[in-house]
């Protein structure tokens, strides 16, 4: 059976979303099953229309221009590209916490971009975290 990774993705900033994307991609290369549980701030990025508008940094916000230019120069994929690539390579499920979605005006599956698999309650996240071989909170 494939090893399982569970991610609690609380953050909706571009740097942390990118980190999540890199980690998920690494898991995909390793053929792990990945379950992402998107919590409060993170949900904003997954609401239709917002996916390309994510522009805050969690740290060093005064260095944002340099940070973004460096990502670009190093040819680093966007957070969304990482998620899509990983989904093509392995079993990645993106689940949005129902409360988190509501905070950003999204209530139903059609309110989210197509990489989202389900809207869930907190119990599912806890169960997944219990079952996982590795668990990250980002």
């Amino acid at each position: 059976m494939a090893e399982k990774m569970c991610i609690g993705l609380f953050s909706g900033s571009i740097d942390r979303l990118t980190a999540a994307g890199v980690i998920i991609s690494g898991a995909a290369a390793d053929d792990m099953d990945v379950e992402v549980y998107v919590l409060l701030q993170g949900a904003r990025a997954f609401v239709k229309g917002n996916e390309n508008k994510i522009d805050s940094l969690s740290e060093n916000s005064h260095l944002k221009e340099e940070f973004m230019a460096a990502l670009d120069k190093l040819n680093v994929s966007t957070w969304l590209e990482f998620f899509k690539m990983a989904k093509e390579m392995t079993n990645v499920k993106v689940n949005i916490c129902s409360l988190a979605g509501k905070l950003w005006g999204a209530d139903k599956m059609e309110d989210y971009i197509d990489i989202v698999d389900d809207i869930i309650g907190i119990g599912e996240y806890i169960d997944a975290a219990k079952d996982a071989d590795v668990h990250f909170f980002i």
Binding site: V22, S25, A28, A29, D30, L74, V76, S77, M89
Partner: protein
């Protein structure tokens, strides 16, 4: 394997991932390995220091043979045989 032996291998597929940083080369390697047959040799070009350790480790874990790495100026070539 010596550098000379590695350089003389009959390579089935070359993956040039010098344009990307970690995890780009690993993802490129993972994608490309599915396009060759067992026993074929693949060469990955990378300029990313993290990849230098990641790819041999990944290859071994996935049942492929890591054959060696050749250092060039500004990048390196990682050789593996599909298991």
């Amino acid at each position: 394997m010596t550098t000379e032996e590695l350089n003389n291998l009959e390579v089935k597929k070359i993956v040039d991932a010098r344009g990307t940083a970690c995890p780009g080369p690993l993802l490129a390697a993972k994608k490309a390995i599915s396009e060759i047959a067992a026993g074929d040799i693949m060469e990955i070009l990378s300029a990313d220091e993290g990849t230098r350790k990641d790819i041999p480790k990944w290859a071994t874990k996935k049942g492929h043979d890591y054959l060696g790495t050749v250092e060039e100026s500004g990048f390196f070539k990682i050789f593996m045989k599909k298991g």
